[in-house]
Symmetry: C2
Subunit: 309 residues, 2 copies
């Protein structure tokens, strides 16, 4: 990979450090994004002492050789997990999504950077945790969404109530991870296509779950039986699996989204599928780009630190 | 392994051929079980031409060197699947659990045996299939259970309505396979113990699912959150996962078992867990040994063939 180039006017660095990916943005003092970079050095393939080299591999060249004040580096995501770079803990809801007081400072060998990690959020009852999404919520709120329902689909999909610019409560469903585990490690692996979407099969499965959510474990086997007895195709089977699990999630979240505006964070087919499922059942769904709201959330943290626009 | 010994008075051979195991019984003309054997040559590690050698490895020595009439071999289970020894199809419910007309004859190179495979059962709506359990149902019915509800826990757990000695309908839940896939291939693998049972945690999770079955995908993530926030232990986490999934199955099956007598086929901790969950919620549960009812079911098939006691 080409060496990153020195960036004049670099004010701070935004970092989204997830389980499987590392994303960095070089930010100017006027809030402009001057450069960005990406690597696959996520938490799942790093030990604690691997974080600083992995970061410097992407941003080292952006930094001046000698500076009076270190460049602030603000990190959100799994780098703050117990098994990450440095544990950043969890702040208890209800609370603001981010707060300068909770940031965890990381001591680095390279004195040109001053790294701080955004803590996650915790809810005592029912017990629940998030890490990374709090920063996206801060970005949405900074963008003017001070009250509403937010849906963050994914491996562990989150549903969040925002009230007066604060996180009132949230719920996590294991939907994305269930889809992957069931699709690869049960007999449905013989039934479902690797990709493709049959919108009708998806919509029908969402409706079936909303009508009778208790049937999930039975309807999952029904995908196999429909393949054996009725010739259900592999793309329809995949779409039905997705619809059952997303429908089960929508049923679990219940009254939170029904007849409401829902802000979906994410792009691509998954966010689209959530949008269609919600629209079909009476919610109004708005989509927001995940990278944009993450960056906006980190910029919000930067402003809390008393600098930047 | 020691060579199997010739058995005088051998009348027929009973075979239960599952996904991961092969079980055989040498039967006398008076219904006595004269010998038994076992191997791990199940469907999952056999190609179609491997079945006859795998069978003869266990029963070859039981057979006389020269006989006038071949020894009947009656097979139930996955050997009759499309990807098995020879496809035995499915008979449509409502129907008797087994019926001589549906048996699929297999041509063998060894002329000392006459192999026939018991077909599975199919239900058109909701689509569902079983293979192997129909023989266990025949055994239960032969034992006098001509009306009732039967629960066959396992990888793909079955619930069956028996009416006047016939199979009226059935439902499959993917419970056992979900437990394995979720326990090994989601973040809960970090949370749950490899074994052990916390009966209180199990019972609480069963009750939670029966009270609110829609919450399954959310309560699964809650196991992880309770570990992080409230120190939920690994055995309690495993028991809660089991309880959530069995509770979800009981909720899906709904009115079938409630305030009823339920006949559970199976031994060991899993059948015990089902028995406790059912008893805690108002059903009366009876347990039946799976091997015994399988053998009784194959004996029923043998009697239908007009021989045996």
């Amino acid at each position: 990979m080409a060496a990153p180039k020195f960036i004049a006017g670099l004010d701070w660095i935004a970092v989204d450090w997830g389980t499987s990916a590392l994303r960095v943005w070089a930010m100017g003092s006027d809030g402009a994004n001057l450069a960005r970079a990406f690597s696959s050095r996520g938490m799942s393939n790093l030990t604690p002492d691997g974080y600083e080299p992995a970061l410097l591999e992407l941003v080292g060249g952006w930094l001046p050789t000698r500076i009076e004040n270190p460049v602030p580096v603000l990190v959100c995501g799994m780098a703050g997990a117990r098994q990450g770079w440095r544990e950043a803990g969890y702040r208890a809801v209800p609370c603001l999504p981010v707060d300068e007081a909770g940031l965890a400072a990381v001591e680095t060998r390279d004195r040109r950077i001053a790294v701080r990690i955004v803590p996650g959020l915790r809810q005592e009852s029912p017990p629940d945790v998030m890490r990374g999404e709090e920063t996206q919520l801060a970005g949405l709120i900074a963008g003017g969404i001070e009250d509403g329902v937010v849906c963050l689909p994914g491996t562990h999909g989150k549903w969040v109530r925002i009230e007066a610019g604060r996180v009132a409560g949230f719920t996590t469903a294991m939907t994305g991870e269930l889809f992957a585990a069931i699709g690869a490690h049960t007999l449905l692996r013989h039934s479902i296509a690797a990709e493709g979407m049959d919108k009708a099969a998806f919509a029908e499965a969402v409706s079936a779950m909303l009508a009778n959510p208790a049937r999930l474990t039975v309807d999952l086997f029904g995908i196999r039986a429909a393949g054996l007895l009725h010739g259900l195709g592999a793309v329809a089977a995949r779409s039905r699996l997705s619809g059952l699990l997303i429908g089960a999630e929508l049923a679990a979240i219940g009254g939170l989204w029904s007849s409401r505006e829902v802000h979906i964070v994410g792009a691509g087919p998954l966010a689209e599928a959530y949008g269609e499922a919600l629209a079909a059942h009476g919610a109004r769904a708005f989509r927001h780009d995940a990278g944009m709201v993450t960056l906006a959330g980190l910029a919000r943290v930067r402003r809390m630190s008393g600098a930047g626009p």
